[in-house]
């Protein structure tokens, strides 16, 4: 083969590879296009303000009402509960892994936490339904075991591994010299951890938290199975809620094709997509800043 044809082949293959890499971008764009195409028509039926701030979600009554405020509140509430549990737990576990755990223990615990991330969400939801829900009813005398708290707890289950493994990477990346300097000045290991290591890894931990929250807000099966499904603004930790993903998953099957309800559900998908996009962009920004600071 001549040198020239080699060069041509190189260019061709490079282009094919670039095309394959472009697929991810293409799919992200397609997801947006199709969500917006099917979602935006809802605004010809309800006003933008009524859609986002309306208190009544009665998609099947006559006339139907499409106010998603209770659904947004439901999503934000379960995410808040889950973060309140998962962030301290995840970050503390990460700190334990990098600062305290002996190497051999660490080699076992880390994969176990990763396995936790792999639990299928439908199984976690099932666990919440058959174990947590009756337990909450019996111990705390809640009206229903399928509620905001249960959903938050199960979501925390699922976001701890995300938070923990990213925070662990960040803590691990802190140079040993910083720790040694602090210890040499007479600080205890705990003081070193809290005042030197954690502040140095702060932005990495921030990224971890954002991604954990993004995972919570977008998780579907858990909230579909254990959140209780009532489309109301909750007043207590033990009220049932209907977060956005649950509404989509539960109602899509019964919505008539390209009817008002169908478009409304796609519009919810759109809102959900924008929420997670925002979380991811913020996480990316924090990570980017961190990298520049390290460089």
């Amino acid at each position: 083969m001549t040198v020239l044809s080699h060069a041509r082949k190189e260019v061709l293959i490079r282009r094919i590879l670039a095309g394959a890499a472009g697929c991810s971008l293409l799919f992200l764009a397609l997801i947006m296009v199709f969500l917006f195409m099917e979602g935006l028509p809802v605004f010809s039926i309800v006003g933008v303000k009524d859609f986002f701030l309306g208190f009544a979600w009665y998609p099947t009554s006559d006339p139907p009402e499409f106010g998603i405020f209770p659904l947004i509140v439901g999503s934000v509430a379960v995410t808040a509960v889950s973060s309140a549990i998962a962030i301290p737990l995840g970050v503390m576990t990460a700190a334990w892994l990098t600062e305290i755990a002996p190497k051999t223990v660490r080699r076992i615990v880390k994969p176990v936490i990763e396995l936790l991330a792999a639990l299928p969400s439908v199984v976690v939801g099932f666990f919440g339904m058959v174990i947590m829900a009756p337990a909450l009813q019996n111990w705390l005398h809640a009206d229903t075991g399928l509620n905001l708290f249960n959903a938050g707890l199960m979501l925390a289950f699922m976001s701890v591994p995300t938070i923990c493994s990213i925070a662990e990477d960040a803590l691990h990346a802190v140079p040993v010299s910083l720790r040694e300097a602090s210890l040499a000045l007479g600080a205890t290991r705990w003081e070193t951890t809290v005042r030197v290591v954690v502040p140095a890894a702060f932005s990495g931990i921030g990224t971890a938290c954002m991604l954990g929250m993004s995972r919570s807000i977008g998780e579907t099966m858990v909230v579909l199975m254990v959140a209780g499904g009532a489309g109301i603004v909750p007043h207590s930790l033990f009220d049932p809620v209907r977060p956005m993903p649950a509404a989509i998953a539960a109602e899509m099957a019964e919505a008539s094709f390209r009817g008002e309800h169908y478009h409304a559900l796609f519009a919810i998908g759109m809102v959900l997509f924008l929420f997670t996009l925002a979380f991811n962009i913020v996480a990316g920004q924090i990570a980017e800043k961190n990298r520049q600071a390290l460089d």
Partner: protein, 289 residues
């Protein structure tokens, strides 16, 4: 903390705080342990040869889950067959060619954001694009394609990591011997990175097998009498089967053993694959390049 400035005080404080951190780690271990024990305890009695190899019977209240196992296997293997080549090509482009170019940065941004898209949104997208727009209907193929898009970022991430692990000296040696870049990639870099990429493939497979929301509107049905005979027939899947049995079956109490059994099979499948991936990765980390 002026009131703790004595050395014994500071050390006590340290041991108290450290035990809190250990407690946090224990809680996580306990969570996984309790879910697994609970499923094993309740699920094992339901598992039998018939349960694994028979179709459901008597209006889903008896019988087995064989069609669901087949469906889940077809969906996740199919998704992998589509997304693995695509992901490896993307990773090779990103790592071996593009570096930090603008186009590569956009692609990385795209991959990162694709990883954050909720699975229900993938479900909506799959329904509107593959099922309706492309006219594939609720079918195995729609499910495979939806899951393929969903697993792309997982596999691209690990594949790129695997390429990063291959020492630069390998590439330099090959190029110095007169090989072109393509030859270097195909005969030196890829073979060296392959085991690492395999980890990603297994993780992607596990992710696809455990997924429910993305296949609810694109591929899965609760019951079909027909065997899967083409890419265009709807399929039953373990995850969807579990969800429907647990929430909207007419005989929720009566089917409890079936639910536990299905959950156990699903979790054994997914955790087993993840464990395999972890073991492979562990061996690779100990490997000396």
């Amino acid at each position: 903390m002026f009131f703790k400035s004595t050395v014994p005080g500071r050390l006590t404080r340290q041991s108290v705080m450290f035990s809190f951190l250990s407690l946090a780690a224990c809680i996580n271990m306990f969570a996984l342990f309790s879910v697994c024990t609970f499923l094993l305890w309740n699920g094992l009695p339901a598992i039998s040869w018939e349960f694994l190899t028979q179709p459901p019977a008597k209006a889903m209240t008896e019988g087995g889950i064989w069609p669901c196992i087949v469906g889940t296997a077809l969906l996740s293997l199919g998704a992998l067959a589509v997304s693995f080549p695509l992901s490896v090509a993307s990773a090779v482009y990103l790592h071996e060619y593009a570096g930090r170019s603008r186009f590569a940065q956009y692609i990385r941004l795209g991959v990162n954001n694709l990883a954050g898209v909720p699975s229900i949104v993938f479900g909506l997208f799959g329904m509107s694009f593959f099922v309706i727009h492309c006219g594939l209907g609720i079918s195995l193929l729609s499910g495979i394609l939806t899951l393929a898009v969903l697993t792309l970022p997982v596999i691209i991430g690990t594949a790129e990591e695997a390429l990063r692990q291959v020492p630069t000296t390998y590439r330099e040696a090959s190029l110095a011997l007169g090989a072109t870049q393509i030859q270097t990639i195909a005969r030196v870099v890829l073979p060296a990175a392959l085991p690492g990429m395999l980890t990603g493939a297994i993780l992607g497979l596990a992710r696809a097998a455990g997924e429910t929301a993305a296949i609810m509107f694109t591929a899965a049905v609760f019951f079909t009498k027909k065997d899967v005979d083409s890419l265009f027939s709807p399929v039953m899947a373990l995850s969807n089967h579990m969800y429907v049995l647990a929430t909207s079956g007419t005989e929720i109490v009566k089917t409890m053993p079936l639910q536990y059994g299905t959950a156990l099979v699903l979790i054994a499948l997914v955790l087993g694959m993840n464990l395999l991936a972890i073991l492979i990765r562990d061996r690779l980390q100990n490997k000396k390049w």
